[in-house]
């Protein structure tokens, strides 16, 4: 299959050792002296990286071009490697990174599921961006934002690609607008968990209905159906909404709901249940 692209995978003790050094350095040093130059036990990236067995190797120069776009995203969204970023800047830059990675890399889900693919970005192409986003870590072992086989949903770039994949709304003229509007805490609790996010139409519908339920002026969540009457803190209410979706999906079959085009009604029912539960609890 010619269009199944293989991406370089980076793993092993030499990479872990390099991360232990890199995570103590500042973003400017990393950009100047380490990004795209780092050696792993005196071996180059090309020598140490591997690819999967079946498919066509994606050209390294194209991957490098995407990595450069991530640098542009940082600058265009107010980021500066020499400055500690504000929370708002982090959010804007990460949204831009997620969209750039997802729209520019022709990577199949089975490749994107491999954490070693994303180590290439965090440990070779863009170590300065990881340091800018998360700060320095004085640790003797690699930090999971750089290198992690097990807590892979917390790896800097992998988690962003998957969020974009799960929340891309193909029918929307702005396909990544749901991703842009969701808060970090909401994404961590929802799209980073596999249980419900496997059901794509339900995932999109939860995001849509959650965002539609927010008060235009205050940004808080409506907790009754007469808009404007009662409001609840957005993220707190979303946690409850999400719990009810997960609980209900254990009793009502989400695959059947999707196949019979009932996702909108199912999520609306869960939202109503969340509103009633919230009112009772408060």
């Amino acid at each position: 299959m010619s269009n199944f692209f293989l991406f370089p995978r980076l793993a092993g003790a030499a990479v872990e050792k390099a991360v232990v050094v890199m995570q103590r350095l500042d973003p400017i040093t990393l950009e100047k002296e380490w990004a795209r130059k780092v050696q792993f036990d005196n071996r180059s990236f090309e020598q140490i990286s591997k690819e999967g067995d079946v498919g066509t190797a994606y050209p390294l120069e194209k991957i490098e071009a995407v990595a450069k776009k991530l640098d542009e995203c940082l600058r265009k969204n107010g980021g500066n490697l020499g400055e500690e970023p504000s929370n708002a800047t982090k959010v804007n830059v990460e949204n831009a990174w997620a969209q750039a990675l997802h729209s520019e890399l022709p990577i199949a889900p089975s490749e994107a599921a491999n954490p070693e693919v994303w180590h290439s970005f965090s440990c070779f192409y863009c170590p300065h961006l990881v340091s800018w986003r998360w700060g320095k870590y004085e640790q003797a072992t690699p930090h999971f934002r750089w290198y992690s086989a097990e807590a892979a949903n917390r790896q800097t770039f992998r988690r962003l690609w998957w969020r974009a994949e799960l929340l891309k709304d193909k029918d929307n003229p702005k396909p990544y607008s749901l991703l842009e509007q969701m808060y970090e805490d909401e994404l961590v609790g929802f799209t980073d968990q596999a249980t419900i996010s496997m059901h794509r139409s339900i995932t999109l519908e939860v995001a849509r209905q959650h965002l539609n339920n927010l008060d235009e002026k205050t940004g808080s969540a409506h907790i009754d159906n007469k808009k404007g009457d009662k409001l609840a803190p957005r993220t707190e209410f979303f946690r409850l909404f999400q719990k009810i979706v997960l609980r209900t999906a254990g009793q009502q079959d989400p695959a059947f709901i999707e196949n019979t085009n009932q996702a909108t009604a199912f999520v609306a029912e869960c939202l109503n249940e969340a509103k009633k539960t919230y009112v009772h609890a408060s």
Binding site: M1, F4, A11, G12, A13, A14, D41, R43, Q47, I48, K50, G52, D53, V54, G55, A108, P109, S110, E111, A112, A113, N114, A149, E150, W162, E165, L166, A194, S197, M198, H199, R200, I244, R247, T248, G250, Q251, Q252, D253, A255, F256, I257, E258, N259, T260, Q262, F266, E269, C270, N272, E273, K276, T277
Partner: protein, 306 residues
Amino acid sequence: MAKSITAPYIVLEEFNQFLLPSWKNPADEKDPFDGGYLDSFTPTSRIELAVTFEIKVSMVWSVLKLAPGSELALSASILCPATRRIITSPNIALRSTDTDGTRSTSLVIPEGALSSHAFFECRLVLANDTKPTDSLAARFKSSLLWKHSIKVLLEGSAPMFPVTAERFSSDNGGPTAAWRMNWQRATLLSSPSKVRLITNSDNTHFTNLLKTQSPDGLNPAHSMLQYNVACSMLENICGRFADDFRQIPADQLTDGTLGHNLNMFFKKFFHPRYASITDLIEAYKDNPEQCRAVLQSKIEGTLLHV
């Protein structure tokens, strides 16, 4: 409306006498089973699977106390947590007047959709809103009445432990050594990642041999490595871990432990010739060469079988 979401109702147990699913892989006639590998899988595979259900319709209605007008939907899905994909078969519609017997459906795994492992699930769902007389019977559309799930590992994309490259010190054979297994920090209850296959990054001759593709698809270096790694696993099961396998209850070797993965290895290569892993350990004590020969016979697609 809120009550409809949480109201309890009767469901069928996963293993019951009225509804029995079986998965078939028509391409290689090796049927997926719980804890087994989906043979011949690669990320670019497009695989069609068939699912057959043996169902006693009247008993299902009776046990679940469903209203006579209930309509049920029977379906099969493959769920992959790593790629967040779910692939679902068309529904099989069931009514109370249907006869007992066999029902079949199928589904296709598209290329690039799965990685690592997947859950093969079968489900029975209430497909319409009904008004049963029994207060504990399911009444609302989409109510899940039964679920059966097996976990299948995807060969070719799910190594049992990490594979890494390092420079070998002279203690480990120096630049001319090709590879070694590292079991030093491993216990049956530890993570499988404590075991590693380490290739020697200085031995470029060997790594190039591993990458070489011959026209017939066979690779001598791969074949040799595969068999030797399997032997290393066999030796560790029957040597280092033999006492632990006898002493640690099987239910403690849960998914995510090395013991679970070694059990999967046992099931793939030695079951049902040996009923349990302790039987294999005894057999290995008596005649290790015979166990290695069994292992050779089961490693497919390699030069061992040309």
